[in-house]
């Protein structure tokens, strides 16, 4: 029982971080039909912005994090949109898929060549204590990660549902043409979506790097998990991506303990295949209309 509780908490904590990446992934898909195959690398990179700020420019941790956040907004948000997505969008999804794959390789190799190929220790943001809760040892770090990730997603949800800009963004995602007719600045709303994705990636990166070291190849698994979470939960729903992220986090941790370590990575994949066969729109998703 204590063991189960322990697995559940660490699974939820990891899952909440996965959910951040998955939410960004679904937002991009909704706003501009961009399937971002570099999403994992988007989560890998900001941690290196922080490390570079601290080691090369000698900034204190908080200033480095702030700089990394701004850099992520500029590089992963605005530049990604302007330089890569915009010129390619009129040609359909396929060239864009290839381009994001290439972008992922570019980011990964650049970090490897210009920073380091070794995993880098990342300064912890929260106390490293472990508390004893009914016999289960639960780390403060996990709890804090869970809280921060949830706070980010809830404030995003509130922004999208309660503010004028947020609603305009939702309208854009549902039907850009109608939104434009109703006076929404569609281009600006799509840009906001890309900025939000950059911010989410930065938060996820800074939360997850103290747990697993910052390494250039982190994006491979993170990207895969973000896809799976987004699809399992529902490709066109933020709630879906959140549920998917949490589910994958918990299942992955359960599989590590109760299934063999060798086939641990297979469990989320099998879940993915089953969901696509049985319910292609995802657990919480609504079916997409056929485009004729």
């Amino acid at each position: 029982m204590a063991e189960l509780l322990q697995i559940l908490v660490s699974g939820l904590s990891a899952g909440a971080i996965y959910a951040l990446a998955a939410v960004g992934f679904t937002l991009l898909w909704q706003a501009s039909q961009t399937i971002n195959f570099a999403q994992g690398e988007f989560v890998m990179l900001p941690a290196f912005f922080v490390l570079a700020g601290m080691t090369i420019f000698g900034l204190p941790l908080w200033a480095a994090i702030l700089t990394a956040l701004v850099l992520s907004l500029v590089v992963l948000g605005a530049m990604f949109k302007k330089l890569i997505v915009e010129p390619m969008l009129p040609h359909g999804t396929l060239p864009l898929v290839i381009a994001t794959i290439a972008l992922g390789i570019l980011m990964k190799e650049s970090v490897k060549e210009f920073y380091s190929a070794q995993g880098q220790p990342f300064p912890p943001l929260f106390p490293q204590h472990v508390i004893n809760f009914f016999g289960a040892s639960i780390s403060i770090q996990d709890i804090c990660n869970l809280v921060v990730a949830f706070a980010a997603i809830i404030s995003l949800q509130l922004f999208l549902g309660r503010t004028r800009t947020g609603r305009a963004m939702q309208a854009t995602a549902q039907d850009p043409r109608v939104a434009e007719i109703l006076g929404v600045d569609v281009k600006k709303m799509v840009m906001y979506t890309f900025l939000i994705n950059g911010a989410l990636a930065a938060i996820a990166s800074i939360l997850i790097s103290p747990v697993y070291l910052a390494k250039f190849s982190n994006g491979e698994t993170l990207g895969m998990i973000a896809f799976i979470a987004a699809i399992v939960g529902g490709f066109n729903q933020i709630k879906g991506a959140l549920l998917g992220g949490l589910l994958i986090g918990v299942i992955d941790n359960l599989a590590a303990v109760y299934v063999s370590a060798e086939y641990r990575t297979a469990i989320p994949l099998i879940l993915l295949i089953v969901i696509i066969m049985v319910r292609p729109q995802g657990i919480l998703g609504t079916p997409e209309g056929r485009t004729v």
């Binding site: 040609h91 898929v97 290839i98 794959i101 290439a102 060549e113 896809f227 993915l272 295949i273 066969m277």
Partner: protein, 323 residues
């Protein structure tokens, strides 16, 4: 077929036979792997360029083909028998995987095939009683055809050329048959194809299975070429590489994947002097090609050609297209 095209084909065929003469073993090895990846990329081109479905399972099918051929030939079975087993198994697995997956199509198919590739890798790595685990299989024999022994590099190259030409011939024949035209119709306008009486689901499934079978054939050639296979060579990265070959070359064009395979296989060799930076340059090149020419290099070539020599189009056809 115009005279120019015929001339080009003959020149290409001649170049294939002359290319390895007087070259070292390593160059011949690179040429062999170019031909093998061309076969694999042509298979994916059938799925992607003609039937319009993104598959990321090509590496898995190459792996399946390579392992079946390796295990059979190491057990003493002749390569000819083994290669038909590889092709057959890939075809059947393609059907079994494709039948449920093609209900969802497009980006969902990409994700299902992505998961499949990773699952195949896990099985190859973990079931070491059969596959040798992460150490792989060593000492795969090269085929012997009576007096013609392919143990040396040059004979093996010509053996690969023959396999390549047969595959390309079958592919060209298939694309010009009513069948192949149905594939094209499927890509251009699936709804119209359906209303003209084509069973689109069955055609798409067949395109996927045939494409997979060609992946199996490529694997069956890869195993005796390298004489050593391990699960790590058939991961998602390879699937992405094959996808790159098709897209960068020009998907939906017959020679697109062959050009793309040449580029993807040879470019690392050419960029060797840049040391560790070659992947960075490579990724940048792909990005630039994608931004400026989403239809690949052949598409770019045709665009350039038509800007110098505008093709005369019949006015009535143009008008019809506008209706």
């Amino acid at each position: 077929m115009t005279a120019l095209r015929l001339l080009f084909l003959v020149a290409f065929g001649l170049a294939l036979f002359i290319a390895p003469l007087g070259q070292g073993n390593y160059i011949i090895y690179v040429l062999c792997s170019w031909l093998i990846f061309s076969i694999s990329a042509m298979g994916l081109n059938l799925t992607l360029g003609y039937a319009g479905q993104i598959s990321l399972a090509q590496a898995a099918f190459m792996g399946i083909g390579a392992y079946i051929t390796a295990l059979l030939t190491m057990a003493g079975v002749h390569w000819i028998v083994a290669v038909f087993c590889s092709i057959g198994a890939s075809f059947v697995i393609g059907l079994v995987l494709g039948y449920p997956a093609l209900r969802v199509q497009h980006h969902f198919l990409a994700f299902v095939t992505l998961a499949f590739t990773t699952l195949v890798f896990l099985v190859l790595r973990n079931e070491d009683w059969l596959t040798g685990g992460s150490l792989g299989l060593v000492g795969i024999p090269r085929p012997v055809f009576g007096p013609f022994d392919t143990m040396k590099q040059l004979p093996f190259y010509y053996f690969t050329v023959v396999c390549f030409l047969i595959t390309a011939g079958v592919m060209a024949w298939m694309l010009h048959s009513p069948w192949g035209r149905a594939f094209k119709a499927l890509r251009e306008n699936p709804i119209r194809a359906n209303s003209l009486g084509l069973n689109t689901t069955r055609m798409t499934l067949l395109a996927f299975a045939i494409g997979s079978a060609m992946g199996g054939l490529a694997g069956a050639l890869q195993a005796p070429l390298v004489q050593f296979i391990e699960p790590g060579s058939f991961t998602l990265i390879l699937s992405l590489k094959i996808l790159l070959m098709v897209i960068v070359g020009g998907s939906g064009y017959f020679f697109g994947p062959i050009l793309g395979a040449g580029l993807v296989v040879l470019l690392p060799e050419m960029l060797r002097f840049t040391d560790g930076y070659y992947l960075i340059i490579y990724a940048l090149l792909v990005l630039v090609v994608m931004i400026f020419s989403p239809h690949g290099l052949i598409g770019l070539g045709q665009k350039l050609l038509s800007s110098f020599k505008p093709r005369e189009e019949r006015g009535d056809l143009k008008q019809g297209a506008q209706l």
